[in-house]
């Protein structure tokens, strides 16, 4: 009994403080969580809107689509559908991730309404080397993906970036980052295209 009294005497401030601080954090969190969530979806929809022109609204079409990476790991992603003001489908978009040169790269990839062509990609988050790998978001590299066939892409070091096909010309000095972007596309495309085309047949 005397031990319990001793422990309480020593630690009452800690216990009280934990409850008070916990309460403060809980109140702040509940006040701000809605805003934080809407910020994230807004950023995602903004990027999707830039990729899929003419789209008005976005909705989640397929949830938790499982994709297998080259290393055999399974990742889950959601596929979003974009529709224009007459509720005609303008395209599909999904979040894709894979390892880059320094850190994970997260992209938003868009497909056209028939799931036959890519509509390009935007970088959601990346930590590539400034001046080299960070160039993956620049137009001369990312424009190669706009209109490219929705199939396995191949990275080359020579060729014309203006020619739109499944050959992607790497950024000189940033081969690893360029390869990473192509790999992310390749990891996802088969599963996502199958899902979209099968969904249409039904």
């Amino acid at each position: 009994m005397s031990k319990i009294i001793y422990f309480t005497k020593q630690s009452w401030l800690l216990i009280v403080a934990s409850f008070v601080f916990g309460l403060i954090i809980a109140v702040t969190n509940s006040a701000l969580s809605q805003r934080i969530e809407s910020n994230q979806t807004k950023k995602l929809f903004d990027l999707m809107g830039q990729l899929i022109s003419g789209s008005e609204r976005f909705s989640r079409e397929y949830e938790n689509v499982t994709v297998k990476t080259a290393a055999g790991k399974e990742i889950k992603t959601d596929i979003y559908k974009a529709v224009d003001s007459e509720s005609k489908t303008t395209g599909y978009a999904f979040i894709a991730e894979g390892s880059g040169f320094a850190d994970k790269i997260k992209l938003v990839i868009a497909l056209d309404a028939k799931a036959e062509k890519f509509l390009g990609f935007k970088v959601l988050s990346s930590n590539e080397t400034p001046g080299f790998g960070s160039k993956i978001s620049e137009a001369y590299f990312s424009n190669q993906f706009i209109g490219a066939p929705a199939a396995i892409l191949e990275l080359t070091k020579i060729g014309s970036p203006e020619k739109i096909d499944n050959q992607i010309v790497a950024i000189s000095g940033a081969t690893v980052s360029s390869q990473a972007v192509a790999d992310i596309f390749n990891t996802y495309i088969d599963t996502v295209r199958d899902k979209l085309t099968k969904g249409r047949d039904k």
């Binding site: 630690s11 401030l13 800690l14 954090i25 701000l32 910020n39 400034p130």
Partner: protein
Amino acid sequence: MTKISNISKLSETFSAGLWKENPVLRLLLGMCPTLAVTAAVKPALTMSVCVIFVLTCSNIVVSLMRNLLKPHLRILMFTLTIATFVTIADLFLKAFMPEMSTKLGPYIPLIIVNCIIIGRAEACASKNGIMISIVDALGMGLGFTIALCTLASVRELLSTGKIFEFIVMPKFFVPWAAMSMPVGAFVTLGLILGLMNVITRKNA
């Protein structure tokens, strides 16, 4: 008489953080944010504002409960207090400055283990009254801000030719990409520390 000595003590505490005991440039505390978020002025300034907020709040709370602290539990109490305010700052950033929040990434939660804040709680707030603690927090926080912004403006200028995202360098200037990478942080910090030593040695 006591009022005058009080004011002089307060101003002494405040100015100590700016130069004589500048947390970054003299005490070499808080090196993690100093090296990590100074690639540009904007993130450095955001980081500094967060540190000032956390430092002031934690100093106030620690100073208020300084007579209740048990010696062997004090570090635990400091960390708990700091973690609370850091979480609040992190939530506010996520809600109102989402882009800056992703840019700063893990470095905002890492303020919890920033030695400046725990050091001030131990060295000042747990021994002094609330007024001194607040002034000390503001002085130290401002010293941290000055150090970070100096470092960040040098690095941003040389790596992009801009300061605070305004172009200031002439057109023929070729940006040094290395300055926005870790190597730029170490080199700039080393040069600034060397400069500080030269100045203090001349004054001594």
